[in-house]
Amino acid sequence: MNHEAKKAAGAKGDVVSRDKRTSWFYSDTVKDHFFHPRNFLDHEPEPGSYNARGKVGSPACGDELRVWMFVDPVAERIQTFRWKTFGCGSAIASTSMASVMVTENGGMTLDQARELKPQDIMERLGGLPTRKFHCSVLCDKALRDAINDYYRQTEQFDKMVLAPARVIDPISKVTDHDIEEAVLDGATTLEAVQQRTKVGVGNHEVLPAVEELIRFYREKYFGPDKESLI
């Protein structure tokens, strides 16, 4: 996953290749969103204000992102998109930009939002350094997590989408189906799944994706996590 993401980042929009003199530093747009983040939730979410939530990453990996959406139930367009993140400059900026993109011009439909690619966010930001790319990959995932959550909340289970079998960790060759099985087997934490599958042991880069999957399957089979209910 990360391997592919890095290739894509190098292909276009990479700040390093645009201005070698400033290497990892950020574009003006990135800085603007970093210093003046849009749409972040600066208080605890109020009950009833949102009808979907999403989460990705973990502070252990350096990034945790939570999003809250209000989707107009008739048009199924995103009306409100708020977020909180524990993350670096580009995580803050890319999430801020994504929040603008999904709500501008009347809001994206859920189908449109699901198609939002990290590359789209990066283009609007005027590029990100290659090794920062995984950060903006996170916010499109949190968005898709929230879209699934909306369908779960509205009992449209057939519309929930998860990518088909794919290798999550190229080192241990663990796939998302292995993780699904482990969770069904009762391994509902990262540690328990790692004991069974060795996923991400010695390859920390994949841990955000693994945690996201564990949570997805845990909620799918055992219901929403109590502590993070809206």
Partner: protein, 401 residues
């Protein structure tokens, strides 16, 4: 806008007195010390004078001083050079979990690729190495112990002299052992005594760019009788241990810088300790959910390392940068890997505490006004990032609430 450079542990500016000493060797004194003529000899004499100065400050003999390209090369020459030279005899190396990567990655390379066993000694919550634990790890097969003098990230000063004495005692009971002690003293150079006899070390690393010399020059002290395998081959410079024409101006500058550091050590120690403690005390008092990383008193006079819970260090670093404060972080986001500071993790802290760590390393230019500016600037920036953050770090990890 203020311009507060508090990243002296990364590198220091060039001291004008050092530059002055270097100038002739960037100009008319361009000879190659290996040349057999006056232009060469003049330069050779200057290099040997510099070697004498460095040796005197280290309490060593001048033939024990090897000039290198910097701290990383010195560490590599010490560790690789000694381990490889004695590989027929011994295959075990001992180091600590908080070493600089120049040592840690080197012993790990020897472990992975060259068949050496490596013991990495853990540290306590303040980053202190227990000398007993070091000795406990020794066996007949151990050739080298490498423990840093002071940690570059958290500033903790290790009990090197005690480690050295205990190793000497151990060697008396194991007379056939080839064991030597190496210490990386890059961060200690400006602040602590560097007498190799009192430290009981066989190999010691110094780096010019931490003591107001330009980048690209360092020292390895090699005790007489300690044999190293060179890392590169060529001419007979530095007794064949470091072939290649010397970085003359750097060597001259390094000797001058060590002289200055030696003269000013006591005064700077007192001055910087006051500033350091003032910064630590006020940040911990003014900003809730913070933690001092490293030992409270056994620490470099210029090092302040504080974790700000619930936020990520790179973001804070960028906000400080915009306010004209230049610090550094143990967050993974500024490193090439995705892992945060191995040093803060080695203290037993979770990833999120390491991600939120910030290091302010003070220097000769740092004033009370700078400290005041940092203390005034930090709280609203921390507050803003915490409002954005969904993470709440467990309170068992912070001191100030």
């Amino acid at each position: 806008m203020p311009d507060v450079y508090v990243d002296h542990a990364a590198t220091t500016p060039l001291d004008p007195r050092v530059l002055e000493a270097m100038m002739p060797f960037l100009g008319d004194a361009y000879g190659n010390p290996s040349s057999f003529h006056m232009r060469g000899k003049r330069v050779k004499d200057a290099v040997e004078d510099a070697r004498e100065i460095v040796a005197t400050i280290l309490g060593a003999r001048s033939d024990e001083i090897v000039f290198t390209s910097g701290g990383t090369e010195s560490d590599n020459l010490a560790v690789l050079g000694y381990a490889r030279m004695h590989k027929e005899q011994a295959h075990h190396l001992v180091s600590t979990t908080i070493e600089h990567h120049a040592v840690l990655e080197t012993v790990r390379h020897l472990n992975k690729k060259e068949g050496f066993e490596v013991t990495e000694i853990p540290v306590d919550v303040d980053g202190l190495v227990d000398p007993e634990a070091v000795v406990h790890a020794l066996c007949d097969d151990t050739s080298l112990v490498s423990v840093m003098y002071a940690n570059n990230e958290i500033g903790t000063i290790e009990p090197i002299a005690e480690v050295g004495r205990m190793i000497e005692a151990w060697k008396k009971e194991h007379p056939k052992s080839p064991l030597v002690l190496h210490t990386d003293a890059c961060q200690a150079a400006g602040a602590l005594l560097l007498d190799v006899r009192k430290l009981h070390v066989d190999l010691l690393t110094l780096n010019g760019s931490k003591i107001y010399v330009p980048k690209g020059v360092g020292v390895l002290y090699v005790r007489r009788g300690v044999k190293l395998m060179p890392l590169q081959f060529g001419g007979s410079q530095e007794k064949g241990l470091r072939p290649g024409t010397e970085h003359i101006a750097g060597i001259i500058g390094l000797a001058k810088a060590l002289e200055i550091a030696d003269e000013e050590r006591e005064g700077e120690q007192v001055r910087l300790t006051l500033l350091r403690d003032n910064l630590i005390e006020r940040v911990l008092k003014d900003i809730p959910k913070t933690r001092l990383n490293g030992h409270p008193t056994k620490r470099l006079p210029n090092n302040v390392n504080i974790s700000f819970m619930d936020l990520e260090g790179e973001a804070l670093l960028l906000y400080l940068d915009a306010a004209g404060i230049y610090a550094s972080t143990g967050s993974a986001c500024t490193s090439a890997s995705l892992d945060p500071s191995h040093v803060i993790l080695a203290l037993g802290m979770p990833y999120e505490v390491a991600h939120g760590s910030l290091r302010f390393s003070l220097g000769r230019s740092t004033t009370q006004k700078d400290i005041d500016y940092i203390v005034e600037t930090l709280p609203p920036l921390v507050e803003k990032l915490r409002r954005i953050s969904p993470v709440r770090v467990s309170e068992k990890y912070y001191q100030s609430t």
